[in-house]
Amino acid sequence: MKFEVYQIIVPLASLGFVFNLFRRFLKSKASWQEAALGAAFWLSVGIFALFPDAISTALADLFGIKSNINAIIFFCLGLIFFFQYKLFFMLKKSQMATTELTRKITLQQAEKEDLQS
């Protein structure tokens, strides 16, 4: 079996990311759910880089997609939409928290001024 350069670089990089996640988990900088999800993602990327044809063909057969290239494109699009949704959700949550904090500060300040006057 002949390996291309990317088939060495990508799995090594994936292992690096998994190692980094594990370190963050040990330092309590990441929850176990975060670490597990991240490790699963990067291990999948590493394994996919090692066996791209076999995995993409299996995916294409599983979902009834014509070719393995199409399967990769659909899979990547799905992944992008998922991350887009996650980012949008996080953004909305952080915007709501910022507004809440802003309003709290304003009302506290107003209360102080009312007590002084």
Partner: protein, 233 residues
Amino acid sequence: MIPPEQIWIIIPAYNEGPVIEQVVSKVRESGFPNILVINDGSKDDTAQQARSAGAKVLSHPINRGAGAAAQTGLSYARRRGWLYVVQIDADGQHHPEDIYRLVKMQKESNADIILGSRFLEPSPGIPPTRILYNRISNILTNTFCRRSYSDTQTGFRMLNHRAIRNLRLRLDGFGYCSEMIVQAEEKGLTIAEAPIQVTYTDYSLNKGQDLVMGITTAVDLLWKLLFYPSKMK
């Protein structure tokens, strides 16, 4: 008739330095002495101008949007136990004497919220783009309402103590206009409409919602209505 002293006029304002003093003065001249300006993190002298015109001013440390400013006004009204508030826009498009039309409608209908509608007796000079934008917003909002309203995006509204006590707005931007109506119906508050006049100037046209902002507002509202219906209650 409700005495004007019992009514607080709430004006959410962002970078309205050039006009806010005039807007506050006109409201005072119309017979309403109690004015609260919510300065939504303006970078200009909006707060000073409003204060010098005789308004009480609450300032957001950073800009959070018209909805956030309106909610701060309502929270403050709740804390102070105010009985009635009228919210108007800070860009000078509304005529303060129309507050009396809302007050009259409130007395006649005993509704909890009175919407000042620009389209019951349409003022001349409303730009066609505004009419189109408002029609689209009306369709979108009325889809989620039991009743149909002629101007769901109006910034001219009167709320009584029941509405002040029960409403909890969560949308930061202009989507709060629709959110207030949908939430009010969910909470069993009653809504009526009264005709108002508006005067659009180049200044006020530049301050309102444009198409991009309108689309963002619609997405925000739909996101909340479809994915977080409980948060609209």
